[in-house]
Symmetry: none
């Protein structure tokens, strides 16, 4: 897939996502914040461009909460993210990159035993990180 034209809107959107690299944001937030900044961009444009960015691998899309919609987060550099797994805390939103022998073996196992080739750049394991789990009293799975 090609990158397409470079427009003022896309520039602003990408810039904003990059600025929010440390956290994830929703499409609505992008629209609202660009609006406040004086650079109004249509909702449709944001969604269409986000889709493209996800396809191109520049942005990752998360479904954290049922209602609330999807969240998006910029991916610094997709080269080395190919080799490890990503854990996303559904509470605080923090993204952990984990890489160890055991996890390395998952790709191999799934490929050999289930005939499925995992794409680590698109895959995210959801759950609760240690601090959020402790914070919540640790009731539950």
């Amino acid at each position: 897939m090609e990158k397409g034209y470079k427009t003022k809107q896309r520039e602003k959107i990408l810039e904003h996502i990059k600025d929010s690299m440390d956290k994830h944001i929703t499409a609505a937030e992008i629209v609202a914040q660009l609006n406040e900044a004086g650079t109004a961009v249509g909702v449709a444009t944001v969604y269409r461009y986000l889709d493209k960015l996800v396809e191109l691998g520049y942005v990752r899309k998360y479904i954290l909460d049922d209602k609330l919609g999807a969240c998006y987060q910029y991916v610094h550099n997709n080269e080395d993210c190919d080799e490890h797994f990503h854990l996303k805390c559904v509470e605080c939103g923090e993204l952990f990159h984990i890489s160890c022998d055991y996890m390395q073996g998952i790709d191999t196992h799934v490929l050999e035993h289930h005939g499925f080739r995992i794409d680590n750049t698109k895959t995210v394991l959801y759950g609760k990180c240690k601090s959020c789990h402790n914070k919540l009293g640790g009731e539950q799975v």
Copy 2:
């Protein structure tokens, strides 16, 4: 939380979910299938009862796909908790359920070594299934 009244609608809904125990189904599917079976049940009723069943622990709710809505699956018995992983092919979109000892160990490994508690109802591993991979000539992720 108490179980509430026993009604004909609830009986039908629960029966249907149990019958579909081997897979998960959406609220819309339940409505449609009960409708076809001649037992029309309102959408609101299905959603309200599903919520209750989830709270009571009889049913598990999955948020696997962005669009398509939530999926529900009956839980036989909280013990042998069929915590399984989901693989979704990015090409054909097919969803595979895998459940084997190796994969079972992932939750444990990640919890013990990385302090992260994976939520299988939200987690989906993305990649390419065997047939799609072959079809595309296997040029890699």
